[in-house]
């Protein structure tokens, strides 16, 4: 089991107000799955992804990642785990603006202590896979959104993670580019890496093998591969009614 969540609760406290965001999440994700998390804004999907990616703590329950209990971890340990196990892809790409594409891709290896020469060489290989070899020396602001996202994906892959977390990876891209990015995601998954992405676009979600719908901090339903078509129809109806 790659991910195992049991009764996860999470509240955000601001002053006197406490906002209960996750109200008991039970979830299991196997190695090699391709999962999307959907839900309206405020349903807790980003919070869930942050907890899964060890970017945030939870208040109650237990979370096992690749067999390790993730709870009250020191920042140092969390950083190490993130570096070894997890790759992130973000809606706004989050490339470091003063580093070129190659240096951005190589950065996770810097924190693994890989020498500059070696990590740049590996970074070039990954850029090549993304079809961006000739863009290696370009700065992020010289690239299109799709190119930036591909650089970000290359960066998330370079440390050979077991899981890729993608937070609205297509949110800032047009439809054609979105589909290109999803093709890459599919390939990554085909290579055996678990991919978990958060999206609010049902066509994007439909490309995954499993959809987890969150509603008001609990899992409303889990739709598996075969049911997707039917679900798509239902979702379209819901949208029309809405």
């Amino acid at each position: 089991m790659m991910i195992s969540l049991k009764n996860i609760h999470k509240s955000y406290v601001t002053g006197n107000n406490s906002l209960h965001v996750l109200k008991g999440i039970d979830l299991e994700i196997e190695q090699g799955e391709f999962v999307s998390i959907m839900g309206s804004s405020g349903s807790g999907k980003s919070t869930l992804l942050n907890i899964l990616g060890i970017l945030d703590n939870y208040d109650e329950g237990s979370y096992h990642l690749n067999g390790t209990l993730v709870k009250n971890m020191s920042e140092k340990r969390a950083a190490k785990l993130r570096n070894e196990l997890v790759g992130f892809v973000f809606q706004s790409f989050n490339l470091i603006s003063f580093k070129n594409a190659m240096e951005n891709v190589a950065l996770p290896l810097y924190y693994q202590g890989v020498s500059r020469k070696k990590r740049n060489k590996i970074a070039l290989e990954y850029l090549d896979k993304m079809g961006l070899l000739e863009w290696a020396e370009h700065m992020p602001n010289e690239m299109s959104g799709g190119q930036k996202q591909r650089v970000a994906i290359a960066r998330s892959l370079i440390s050979k993670p077991k899981i890729i977390f993608a937070d609205e990876p297509t949110g800032a891209l047009d439809t054609a580019t979105s589909y290109e990015v999803m093709e890459i995601m599919k390939q990554i998954n085909a290579d055996g890496i678990t991919v978990i992405l958060v999206t609010h676009e049902h066509d994007i979600a439909a490309m995954t093998h499993k959809i987890i719908r969150l509603n008001d901090g609990v899992i409303a339903e889990i739709i598996k591969n075969g049911d997707l078509k039917e679900w798509k129809q239902q979702y379209a109806n819901e949208v029309e009614i809405g």
Binding site: L55, K76, K80, S92, I96, L107, R155
Partner: protein, 420 residues
């Protein structure tokens, strides 16, 4: 820490943000620059003044007789006080007095050798004068006890007199005429702390005998054994009282007995310089602190500005320690390099000023009858202080970086990466 990659990371950041780095560094460079100039100027002033003092022994005391200005024990004022050889003996035996020399003034003073002649000052003295006035012998010897006892017609010539009369000819053993009386040259000397060496020294006994002075002495030059102001004043009072009792005048009568106590002046002046020095350090360190606070402030802004970047780094595996290291090292690097530039520029400027001061000193010495204008000499900062300042910079850089680095380490990736 000596991982080359960390430095490459830092240099990359600095290179990408040249203006920011420059402005950050400037405040520190300026602080150190000012500190160097202040310290250099303080040293220059202090050196200049102490050089003026060093022309005589710093524990010197001078006494001269005059007319009484106060009635004393039924005697009227305006009575002439006259010192004699007997007073010399009295002074010499007083406790607290180290060296004693009496002087009998002689007039005229035309010096001649062969066809060369000139007007110089002949000073009659005891051998101790060499120590009181820090006279340096260039060749031969100074006046000695035998000269005094045998009233020998010996003379020690100032370097300038020798140069003018003898024109590099051997002078020791030759005779110069002073007011037409031949004196045998026994030595050539220089006065310390000046560029003028126009005095000649004769035995006081010879002076009294040859120039009709009987046993008369006009003034005394002494050194006293005192280290504090209080001690030196006590000795001065004792001297005044002894002479006053002997010659029957009021010991407080400054007109009957003039006296100048050098140590008093020196100690007071040194005290002022100590105060100036402390003052300079306070201002200098204050300026430096302003610079360091500036760096800290800018580093805080940098951390704020780089929140997102730091968040990204943390998300992909940067530990809090590596983030702290990144910010601290950048701060230390900027402060040290900038500070060092300030240090070198400041020290360089003071060296330049020193060069000009020395030239002007030489020029003024040449036109001013040999006495240079010495209120400002060698305004440089010594190496130890510069090293200390460098060390201080590294510490300052660490301080400046600490709070921002702590703040950077506390950045939570999710907050940093949240889309606005």
């Amino acid at each position: 820490m000596f991982d080359i990659d960390i430095w490459q990371e830092i240099f990359a950041t600095i290179k990408k943000n040249k203006m920011r780095t420059f402005l950050t560094g400037f405040s520190v460079a300026w602080g150190i620059f000012m500190l160097m100039i202040l310290l250099g100027s303080g040293n220059g002033l202090s050196n200049g003044v102490s050089e003026n003092f060093m022309s005589d022994a710093i524990n010197g005391m001078w006494l001269w007789s005059g007319e009484t200005s106060k009635p004393y024990k039924g005697m009227k004022e305006e009575r002439q006080i006259k010192f004699t050889n007997d007073d010399y003996k009295t002074l010499k035996s007083l406790p607290g007095i180290e060296k004693t020399s009496g002087r009998y003034y002689i007039g005229g003073n035309i010096f001649s050798y062969k066809n060369e002649y000139g007007n110089y000052t002949a000073i009659t003295c005891h051998p101790d004068l060499q120590d009181v006035e820090s006279i340096k012998i260039v060749k031969g010897r100074f006046i000695n006890e035998i000269d005094i006892k045998k009233t020998r017609k010996s003379v020690v010539l100032g370097k300038d007199i020798y140069d003018a009369l003898f024109k590099k000819e051997e002078a020791i053993g030759k005779y110069v005429k002073i007011n037409n009386i031949p004196f045998k040259v026994v030595g050539i000397c220089k006065e310390s702390g000046g560029t003028k060496h126009r005095n000649a020294y004769l035995p006081v006994s010879t002076g009294q005998k040859v120039f009709n002075g009987s046993n008369r002495i006009h003034s005394f030059a002494l050194t006293i054994n005192a280290t504090s102001l209080k001690e030196s004043q006590a000795i001065e009072t004792q001297v005044r009282e002894t002479l006053a009792r002997k010659h029957r005048f009021d010991a407080t009568d400054k007109s009957a007995l003039g006296s100048y106590n050098k140590l008093e002046d020196v100690l007071q002046t040194m005290k002022i310089f100590q105060a100036i020095n402390i003052f300079i350090w306070i201002i200098g360190i204050g300026t430096l602190i302003a610079g360091v606070v500036g760096v800290s402030n800018i580093m805080l802004i940098i951390v704020k500005e780089r929140t997102k970047e730091i968040g990204i780094r943390k998300a992909i595996g940067a530990s809090p320690g590596s983030v702290i290291g990144l910010i601290m090292l950048e701060s230390v690097l900027i402060t040290t390099v900038a500070g060092y530039i300030g240090l070198v520029l400041g020290a360089g400027l003071m060296e330049g000023v020193n060069f000009i001061v020395e030239q002007q000193y030489a020029a003024s010495a040449a036109t001013n009858g040999g006495q240079g204008d010495t209120f400002f000499r060698n305004p440089t900062v010594d190496l130890n202080i510069a090293m200390l300042a460098t060390l201080m910079l590294v510490i300052a850089g660490t301080f400046a970086g600490y709070i921002p680095a702590k703040r950077a380490a506390k950045i939570k990736p999710i907050e940093a990466l949240r889309d606005e």
